[in-house]
Symmetry: C2
Subunit: 573 residues, 2 copies
């Protein structure tokens, strides 16, 4: 049994490894070193600390039973030695030692190890643009930065802010600024949509629209070109190709990069994008050195491709697993499932598995459906419609991914987590269709929205349902001449369709759903009908009927419920 365990990094994966190890090997001598004086904190809570939801940074470092996780706590409660303000300078793999230095006293020391764990985390990416190093430009990398940002806000000096980066941290920071502090906030994302690695465009657009409704100025498809300073040398302006944004503070949330310099210098294998290479027992290329958390490269469970997934949830899971493997309980980490959830003001967006484009890129015969079902019985007062998008493989019928959008609460989480479990076990859309999800009117519909989405995927995979994507539909609405043979068949209630038939005349045919069986003679036979309802469900029913009459049609999946969430300038007033 190894005895001396040295862990470099004391935020998430490191402490988790240490605590689990101490429970598996009570005799072990475990030391954690960290450059910071603050350790073992909930880094994901930083936006909530900045917003004021969490009043004191100490809460991010406390246990659930109100003790502060500092070096004294680790020593007394856990029997783990922590050396803070201590940097690891180099690893001597032959002698199995690490050279460390105290950052205050500059005293160096050589620590021996039987097993070494690298939990060095990730560092924020600072974009290579002019002004990135100005005063007033903050990354969201550690508690000290968080405290500094909150101090600026609390002083009342921030009237305007620009957040560079439309990933989760950028969006959470934008919400913190706009919602709690009333700061005029602009969010910039270089890619065409927010959360570009997580959401497909319809869900990105719903999210952006919701942020705008809550007062955030969202700019997508444009990167920051420069940050300019005022006369005191403080950042005061962000320049993009089409905007000049005055600001009192800049948040740079452009992603993170694995901290793997130490590993690289020790001759360990490091992936081209910087993640430490590990096997599925989380061993590096040196079997006595493990690595976990934001510093490693991991495998996406669905695509099988290597990826960097810097998430607190994975860091904790991996920390436990490293401890198991050091203690001789051989355990494997198969990878990351792509599960994601976030709050953005009053809404929630979630995902798991692969998004559609990523599934295509990974070589799947990917297909996609979108639904707009109720999250609970439609007669239940708190009912809301929750768009869900399921990505699946046409050949194997396996579920590849799910995205969801709904009101803030745990309703989306319930569907994402169930889908995550299905995807992890290689389940098909048929398994999902039959899955016995819990039902009562205050929580779900009799056929849960997730079951219903799998049913729609089945209809699509079996060729009974033909759809037009939201993107294609919106492009056509912008330019009817792009598909001169298309015509809308709007089957909603006449009160809902009146504005459309008036505005779009020849391209808009309205026949209520319940009348089509009698009035189908009015439908032109030489057109492709774009069937529109509020969710897509009735449209599918009508499509089956029309197909039977040899009429060609496409269903707008998710219906106008999704279009309304995205917003459209052509919407009749």
């Amino acid at each position: 049994m190894p005895h001396k365990i040295l862990i470099i990094g004391g935020v998430a994966a490191g402490p988790k490894t240490a605590c689990r190890l101490m429970r598996l090997m009570p005799d072990a001598e475990i030391t954690i070193i960290d450059q910071d004086n603050l350790i073992s904190y909930g880094g994901c809570g930083i936006p909530y600390y900045v917003s004021g939801d969490v009043s004191d940074e100490k809460e991010l470092r406390n246990t659930s039973f109100h003790m502060t996780r500092d070096e004294f706590f680790f020593l007394n409660a856990k029997g783990v030695t922590v050396k803070t303000r201590t940097q690891a300078l180099s690893i001597n793999r032959q002698n199995k030692t690490v050279l460390i230095e105290n950052l205050d006293t500059h005293i160096q020391e050589i620590l021996p190890y039987d097993k070494l764990v690298l939990a060095t985390g990730a560092s924020p990416i600072v974009l290579p643009i002019p002004g990135a190093d100005l005063e007033g430009v903050y990354t969201v990398s550690d508690l000290h930065k968080a405290i500094a940002i909150k101090e600026q806000l609390a002083k009342g000096k921030v009237g305007k802010a620009v957040v560079i980066g439309g990933g989760a941290i950028g969006i959470e920071m934008a919400e913190a600024f706009a919602d709690l502090w009333g700061v005029t906030t602009t969010l910039i994302e270089f890619m065409p949509g927010l959360l570009p690695n997580i959401l497909d465009s319809a869900f990105s657009s719903m999210l952006a629209s919701s942020l705008r409704r809550n007062g955030v100025h969202v700019i997508t498809g444009e990167g920051a070109r420069a940050i300019e300073a005022d006369e005191h040398g403080v950042a005061c302006r962000v320049i993009t190709p089409n905007h000049t944004l005055e600001t009192d503070l800049v948040i740079m949330a452009a992603g993170v990069h694995p901290r793997s310099k130490l590993a690289l210098e020790a001759g360990l294998l490091v992936a081209p994008r910087g993640g430490i290479v590990v096997n599925n027992r989380l061993q590096t290329s040196d079997p006595d050195i493990f690595a976990a958390g934001d510093c490693i490269e991991t495998t996406h469970l669905v695509s099988g491709l290597k990826a960097h997934a810097p998430l607190g949830s994975l860091a904790n899971r991996q920390g436990r697993l490293v401890a198991d493997n050091i203690a001789g309980l051989s355990t494997s980490f198969e990878g990351w499932g792509g599960s994601f959830i976030m709050k953005a003001f009053d809404i929630c967006v979630g995902a798991t598995g692969l998004r559609y484009q990523a599934a295509l890129d990974a070589g799947f015969e990917a297909d996609v459906v979108i639904t707009a079902q109720s999250d609970r019985a439609h007669f239940f007062p708190e009912q809301a419609v929750i768009p869900l998008q399921m990505i699946f493989d046409r050949k194997s019928r396996k579920i590849l991914g799910l995205q969801g959008f709904g009101p803030m609460g745990d309703g989306i989480l319930a569907r994402i987590n169930a889908a995550a479990a299905l995807i992890a076990t290689g389940a098909t859309i048929d398994d999902c269709s039959k899955l016995d999800l819990a039902y009562a009117p205050p929580f779900a519909t009799a056929l849960d929205a997730l079951n219903a989405t799998a049913n729609v995927a089945d209809n699509k995979a079996s060729g009974r349902l033909q759809t037009v994507s939201i993107e294609e539909y919106l492009a056509w609405m912008d330019d009817f001449s792009s598909h001169p043979d298309w015509i809308a068949l709007d089957i909603r209630h006449p009160a809902e369709t009146a504005g459309f038939t008036k505005k779009f005349e020849n391209t808009w045919l309205a026949i209520p759903y319940a009348e089509i069986r009698h009035r189908h003679g009015e439908i032109p036979k030489d057109k492709t009908l774009i069937i529109i309802c509020d969710a897509g469900t009735r449209s599918y029913e009508i499509q089956v009927f029309l197909t039977h009459l040899n009429l060609r049609s496409l269903v707008l999946g998710g219906g106008f419920n999704c279009i309304r969430r995205i917003g459209a300038d052509w919407w009749p007033q």
Copy 2:
């Protein structure tokens, strides 16, 4: 292809079969018959209609797009003929016809079928006790009964009510009475705990305690012996072995029985408990007759045992499946997963798979752990502790069941649904431990409560964790002499333990968690230590340390958090 499809029963499984079939076989001639004039309603919504959450019974019969699902809707929108107020008198399997009678005109008719679907539902059990047929005694079986009950409430004539039956419907009705109408309500359950087929005793007790806190008088372990009438012949008193309960209204919610008389008389196989026997394509013993919904016997996915599972969610899933099989898309229904969720005032309780006792009865090497983790980051303001209980097989390490208890919302649903998906795919506690559940502080802890529960199950299955069950612990607290060698080791904060050490003196040793490594010399070596904290997590850590010192201990899983929810008369004031 079959052409004439006859469906007996128009509430859930029947209409679902009809609508799906019409989409698969647009040429089919589909007829539904039902004895009632009201069809295709959300029967599970009845308690919410009675409570007033749903103001009009029509909402239970409406589609999500506000059309009422009556016979005209089915004809015009769906192309399905519905004959209401029509009873099926007998089936002639040789000629493939059904003799029907209109209940108003008494005109009889013979309807031919190519395929027949029995969706005859279930009828409420009326207990064989004196007074069960009195005026003022209501079952919760259909919309007419619901309307009648609500009328009584609306007239202001109900000051006191007794609900017989502590299943889901009984509890929902008790809530409707007590919460919305301020009725003094007593709930009687014959078995020792509420929801006896769904929850193990700790969770039953938490639920009962929560109902009592909300003003419902809960009596368990006692059946109703008689209902007595006032001078007008109206029910006014319910007699149990130990109680005489004055009342203005009695709800009989003692379960339901499959309606299978028609099937039985037609010579179809019917199980001893009354459910129509079907294969996994939902065909009865006559391959031209299918059955679905509350009238069939189904298989429990985990135990493999036959069961009657009258649930709207299953009825809908089965209806779709019957349609698939009639239309030639061979699809199988493997069974029911035991998933359950319910609201009770401000709390939510859920379950999936098998409860512990049922798992033992089914022959598993079942074991169980209980946790009390946070539903979201412990620093997040809306955080709450959600007790979870996981049942697993020691040999195969497969998950057999999960129970959860928490504040009203979808947090429990998220864990139940994920567990349901895992159980359906035969996953182990290790799969659950590694499952990539979505994480952000407003939704979960970095290691989700479900992951953490699987980790605790792993510790138990691997022999590192030894527990005392809540039942054993409570029995010991009632009589210390039952285990004279036990002593409590309370590792909570001194402010929390003071009342206990004072009250229980020699059986209560308090050493704070963070001090045990230094103070373990104070622990007697000849006792079994019952380690107590607020969740069980710290207790486990201390157990590992004590085991290492050759001290014998047992952890109270879920800790005092669960005990507080159950309530204890010995709790120091």
